[in-house]
């Protein structure tokens, strides 16, 4: 009976064990392993075994213009897409916060992009964007407007990709903000009306400050996700034309699965990981300040 006694005494450790093993195996281990790889030299094309290489992967990657460009693009994509999503999302939420006919139908339609598979979305948008046989240039030609290269032109590829991201993820921000709006109490509005505030004053002085924490939450969630965007970009352009839409995630993918340079790929991923981490911590601190 000693054995069962042991189990009885340690049940509080034994029961969470599966969850703990799960977290360690599937979350902690990959991060730690990537960290180890980032300090190693492991290129499959050389046929040599893995060796410890210190910071050399990081030094190499920091000197690589493609990496620095990718960092810039990652920020450009994230800021551009999330800013547009936030503005559009808030406007949509404000509209949906009123009572009108067909509101539920509209809400339902708004949800559809959220549940679409990104790769399928990418393929469909590529058909729209195709410069020769695509729909968008056809529409432009009907109005005798100049045509665009969309995702095939290095000048327009990132805005075109951002548009897809905006199409897919604006509804998410709209829904979160809508939930925030629904939770607001009506008292401040009533007193503002009594005091004779204009509707723009009411929006900027009352509504906006009250839902700012909600908006920030939505923006953090989106921004963390946008920094890591991979599926839409890979499905639509693969980082091209040239390297014109190569973000950090795409670059890391190329280094690992096309160049088989796992050391350098890991150092890019560690950098991206730190970037996302620092960003989240920064915004969380900001949010705390707003809530005070």
């Amino acid at each position: 009976m000693i054995k069962s006694g042991f189990f009885e005494r340690n049940l509080k450790y034994i029961f969470p064990l599966p969850a703990l093993i799960f977290v360690i195996a599937l979350m902690v281990f990959p991060v730690v392993y990537t960290l180890i790889l980032s300090f190693s030299e492991w290129t499959l094309t050389s046929g040599r075994p893995i060796t410890f290489a210190g910071f050399s992967s990081y030094l190499k990657i920091l000197k690589e213009p493609r990496f620095l460009d990718a960092v810039g693009r990652t920020f450009y994509f994230t800021v551009g897409a999330v800013a547009a999503e936030a503005v559009l999302g808030i406007i949509i939420a404000l509209i949906l916060n009123r009572e009108f006919r067909g509101k539920n139908g509209l809400k339902f339609i708004l949800l559809l992009p959220l549940v679409a598979t990104p790769v399928a979305v990418g393929i469909v948008f590529n058909l729209f964007y195709d410069p020769t046989i695509g729909f968008l240039n056809y529409v432009l030609s009907l109005f005798h407007l100049p045509q665009s290269g969309w995702v095939t032109d290095s000048a327009t590829v990132l805005p075109s990709l951002m548009a897809v991201d905006v199409w897919q993820w604006t509804p998410m921000i709209a829904l979160i903000v809508l939930a925030g709006l629904a939770g607001l109490s009506s008292e401040p509005y009533e007193s503002a009306k009594v005091d004779g505030a204009s509707s723009s004053q009411i929006f900027f002085r009352i509504t906006l400050p009250m839902i700012t924490p909600t908006i920030l939450t939505a923006v953090i969630l989106r921004a963390v996700d946008a920094l890591k965007t991979y599926d839409i970009i890979y499905a639509m352009t693969g980082g091209g034309p040239g390297y014109a839409s190569e973000t950090l995630n795409i670059l890391a993918y190329k280094y690992s699965f096309e160049y088989f340079n796992l050391g350098q790929a890991s150092s890019i991923l560690v950098f991206l990981f730190l970037l996302v981490l620092l960003f989240s911590l920064g915004v969380m601190r900001l949010r705390k300040r707003f809530e005070l």
């Binding site: 009885e8 094309t45 195709d130 020769t132 969309w150 096309e258 160049y259």
Partner: protein, 421 residues
């Protein structure tokens, strides 16, 4: 109650752990990885026959070509592979796989029905590791009706090619198309470089910064920049084919393997009789299109079912299947498949002629043959894109080529392949 629960938990956990050891069954099973390639499709349809004949169960997975390379590499590199037989691209991954010892030697295979140079690509220290499946060479698909309407002949040299591209580039139809998407363009650009008298590598040293090669890249960029479809710098074959099929492209140079798909009546608006297949026009120096083994088949060195795997390999590369492949316009590597009369009667004469020309005069590589070929193709792709974007006029094309050739040489050095003969 608690005790019962704990015991159940422990038992179920250990069951999961030990269950793996019990899956060994009496029936032989092999795992086969195929490419999403017309020949891969053909094999998949016929595998039932093989299973019936041999009683070996075949688990097939089909993957797009670059994903296939990635999956194989990841599985082999991590030592966790259960793959027995797989389709492989000798020029893309052959060196990498051979270097790491992932192919099993195929000494017992009968290679007598294959052209010697197609087998040599897959040799290491004299031992063959890859059975050649499909060969492809560069051809020019063109619209017979458009040439007739314009009253011009099919070009036979690069000057005529440019003149034809210019003449046919009108009414919403692009005069000339070829891959412009950086790395993907490298294989199709290769024949242009050869016809200008250049090479990617010579004795495993990058030489694509030679005046001949740079002139070829300039010419390629001039044609595509001036007469190519819009957005050509993002286009590989999968983007060019629909444009050709929609009737918006007059000439298209790409691999011979696409003919069957180009004229597939379910996908094209252009009737097959309006589609011609011609050889790539000759260049100022040479007339030497690439002709390569684009696909082969190999056995994993880690296979535990050597006998069954070998049986499958022999069946999948058999003469009868090769003939079936030829009849669906797949250009097979076996000599006997080309000699077969029933095949010759069915094939597009343009394919037979261009194959004969390429087999006689062609060059057996369409890309730099090195382990780090993926990265090298991206580097060369940068020059291609610069050339197309400037319509071949870029003043820095030579300096860019010099810079990228140095980068490719650095890769060769890092992998210990630089200057090897």
């Amino acid at each position: 109650m608690k005790k019962v629960f704990v015991v159940l938990l422990v038992v179920s956990l250990s069951f999961v752990l030990f269950a793996q050891g019990q899956t060994e069954s009496a029936q032989q099973e092999i795992r086969v990885l195929l490419a999403n390639h017309p020949y891969g499709e053909l094999l998949k349809e016929s595998i039932g026959e093989f299973e019936e004949q041999t009683g070996i169960k075949v688990n097939v997975e089909s993957l797009q070509e670059s994903q296939l390379t990635q999956k194989l590499t990841t599985e082999f590199a991590t030592g966790s592979s259960t793959v027995d037989v797989f389709m492989t691209r000798p020029l893309q991954e052959g060196l990498l796989f051979n270097k790491n010892g992932w192919y099993a030697p195929l000494d017992s295979y009968d290679f007598s029905d294959y052209p010697g140079n197609t087998v040599d690509i897959g040799r290491k220290d004299g031992t063959p590791f890859i059975v050649p499946l499909v060969t492809e060479w560069q051809v020019m698909y063109y619209r017979k009706d458009l040439f007739e309407a314009a009253g011009i002949d099919v070009p036979t040299n690069f000057e005529e090619l440019e003149a034809a591209a210019k003449a046919l580039n009108k009414d919403g139809v692009a005069g000339f198309g070829s891959r412009g998407k950086g790395a993907a363009a490298v294989t199709q650009l290769s024949s242009y470089i050869y016809n200008y008298g250049g090479r990617y590598l010579e004795d495993n040293i990058a030489v694509f910064d030679s005046p001949e090669a740079v002139e070829a890249i300039r010419y390629y960029g001039k044609l595509l920049g001036n007469y190519g479809p819009q957005g050509v710098v993002s286009m590989s074959w999968e983007n060019l084919m629909p444009v050709f099929q929609a009737g918006k492209l007059a000439m298209w140079t790409d691999a011979s393997v696409f003919y069957g798909q180009v004229v597939d009546p379910a996908k094209t608006q252009i009737p097959a009789e309006d589609v011609g297949v011609a050889q790539l026009p000759r260049g100022p120096v040479d007339d030497s299109p690439f002709i390569v083994v684009s696909w082969g088949m190999a056995m994993s060195s880690k296979t535990k079912n050597t006998e069954a795997a070998m049986k499958f390999l022999e069946w999948a590369t058999s003469k009868s299947l090769a003939i079936e492949g030829m009849k669906s316009n797949i250009t097979m590597a076996r000599n006997s498949a080309w000699a077969d009369e029933s095949v010759r009667a069915m094939m597009n004469p343009g394919l037979i002629e261009t194959q004969a020309h390429a087999a006689m005069n062609g060059y057996p590589f369409d890309r730099p043959f090195m382990s780090a070929v993926g990265q090298a193709r991206d580097l060369i792709g940068e020059i291609v894109i610069e050339s197309i974007n400037t319509k071949g006029m870029s003043p820095k094309l030579q300096s860019l080529a010099t810079e990228k050739a140095k980068a490719v040489n650095d890769l060769l050095k890092a992998d210990g392949e630089y200057g090897m003969k």
